[in-house]
Amino acid sequence: KPAVGGGSNAPRTAGGSRLDAGRRSPVVSPIVRRIAREHGFDASQLDGSGPDHLVMRRDVESFISDELGSATAPAATSAAPLARST
């Protein structure tokens, strides 16, 4: 069994993390970042359930369903992919 790792894709419960404006959790998936952005918050303000607080998709999705009371669709079907004006 490799020394690194901890089953990041497992549907572990994400545990009701709240937004914290002072927090800077790591986010590495642009999809995860976008789902959060489309729901009006910054994913890095969640306390991620991945290794080292990495914000996983499940964290964003459970925040949305628990706190915002809406279901998430896969990111791409929810909106046009870009508003590319910087």
Partner: protein, 457 residues
């Protein structure tokens, strides 16, 4: 007797070691690399690069033999092993030169000599002592054998196999893992009769079973023989060749026996245990941030239990430098690291096999679709067959991708991002792959899993 001080002293200048040093100096740290042989290590000199040169020569041979199928008149006339060697050596030496230049430009001293860990913060090379605020162990691996199976004469390892100046008429390969099937593939293309002996029930036993089975079929068609599920017992050799005996009494005669049963860690007699570093069957266990049980001593690359791959070594080297610099890099689990086997047809995979995904997430929680390349235009044009299997969690992310096909290796990059970024098939579906590419097969499998197949039912 001199002493020099660095932020990081790296023992071993292979993929893992030099990557750590490069990243360290980028972050403003000082680093030195201690290397007893050649910078670049196994991968550059005895591993990835020279084997892939042989495999490309094998591909050229196959293309030449098959040219008429495509309307090209070409007469294949055998292998010129000195030409193959010149090509292989040319690639290795130019990459080696480039790598040396890279470290030089970065101002990283590469200390020639055999190092020994003499304290939790020091490596000794001859009379000289290199003291580091942190130590990175990166001493790599060597070709293992089995108990009672002596390497020598006609019983060889991959190091020797790489440098053979002739094509054996008949060769036996012990081990149907990556290295075994790659050499089997090369030798077959070069005209040898090849038999692979694998104790487990399948070739490439770490891959998804459907991939193993397809490889077995493809190898059988290519005339590569194999024995599966029966263990090796013994080998004898004389002037004429070797005789390999399996536990069931079956024997195989050949000119040579390649032993490709795995790679062991290079950790013996290097002072590791004396300084207090715990070893586990020779490997160096670490925490998930690659630190050993001795604070300040890290381990990277093939000596760390898990996948033995050059890009994992790079990743771990970079990770450790960033960790020491306080950057808290993210962890990439072994399962999410892509693996390529460069035999013909190639195999590429990332994430969980279908069986492992079912185990992990529950069989009723996962779906898989295996897109047959018979439906893929570009693969037909290339004359290759195979499939792309995508495994998803239902209403969840893609957790595994398993490909077998000529040129499959390049197709795994996209899958690596999908798996590591937790993409759902629905996220990828709107972005139709360029036509005609082999990558479309991944697209078709994904479309199917998203409930909207295009060129599939």
């Amino acid at each position: 007797m001199s002493e020099q001080n660095f932020d990081i002293v790296v023992l071993g200048g292979g993929s893992a070691g030099y990557a750590a040093a490069i990243r360290a100096v980028e972050l403003g740290l000082t680093a030195a690399v201690i290397e007893k042989d050649k910078l670049g290590g196994t991968c550059l000199h005895r591993g990835c690069i020279p084997t892939k040169a042989l495999l490309h020569a094998a591909e050229v041979a196959e293309v030449s033999k098959d040219a008429a199928k495509y309307g090209i008149k070409a007469a294949f006339d055998g292998i010129d092993m000195s030409g193959v060697a010149a090509y292989r050596e040319g690639i290795v030496s130019s990459k080696w030169k480039g790598l040396q230049g890279l470290l030089k430009a970065r101002g990283i001293p590469v200390i020639e000599g055999e190092g020994r860990l003499v304290a939790a913060n020091a490596v000794q090379v001859g009379d000289d002592r290199y003291v580091g605020k942190n130590i990175v162990l990166a001493t790599g691996s060597y070709s293992k054998s089995l108990p009672g199976l002596d390497i020598g004469g006609r019983v060889i390892t991959s190091e020797h196999a790489l440098e053979l100046d002739f094509v054996p008429k008949k060769v036996a390969v012990l081990g149907g893992g990556v290295i075994g099937v790659e050499f089997a593939s090369v030798w077959r293309s070069f005209g040898a009769e090849v038999t692979i002996i694998e104790a487990l029930p399948h070739l490439v036993p770490n891959e998804d079973e459907s991939v193993s089975k397809q490889l077995e079929r493809a190898f059988r068609k290519r005339g590569i023989e194999y024995s599966l599920g029966v263990r090796f017992q013994s080998v004898t050799q004389n002037d004429q060749g070797v005789v390999v005996t399996l536990e069931n009494g079956q024997t195989y005669e050949a000119e040579l026996l390649l032993v490709a049963v795995g790679r062991g860690p290079v950790t013996e007699n290097l002072g590791y245990e004396e300084v207090g570093v715990t070893l586990d069957r020779g490997f160096v266990p670490t925490n998930e941030r690659l630190e050993t049980n001795v604070p300040g001593i890290y381990a990277v690359g093939d000596i760390v239990p898990g996948l033995q791959l050059a890009h994992r070594s790079y990743q771990q080297g970079i990770f450790v430098a960033e960790e020491i610099a306080g950057l808290s890099p993210i962890i990439v689990e072994d399962v999410n690291i892509p693996k390529i086997t460069y035999c013909e047809p190639e195999i590429a995979s990332v994430g969980y096999t279908e069986a492992k995904a079912a185990e992990k997430f529950g069989a009723d929680q996962v779906s898989a679709f295996d897109y047959n390349l018979a439906g893929n235009g570009k693969s037909s044009i290339l004359g290759t067959t195979g499939s792309v299997k995508v495994v998803r969690v239902n209403d969840g992310p893609i957790v595994g991708v398993h490909i077998i096909a000529g040129r499959a290796g390049e197709l795994i990059a996209e899958a690596q991002l999908a798996v590591n970024w937790e993409a759902y098939p629905e996220d990828i579906a709107p972005f139709i792959h360029a036509h005609p590419t082999q990558g479309e097969a991944f697209g078709e499998a994904v479309l199917k899993l998203a409930g909207k197949p295009l060129h599939a039912i």
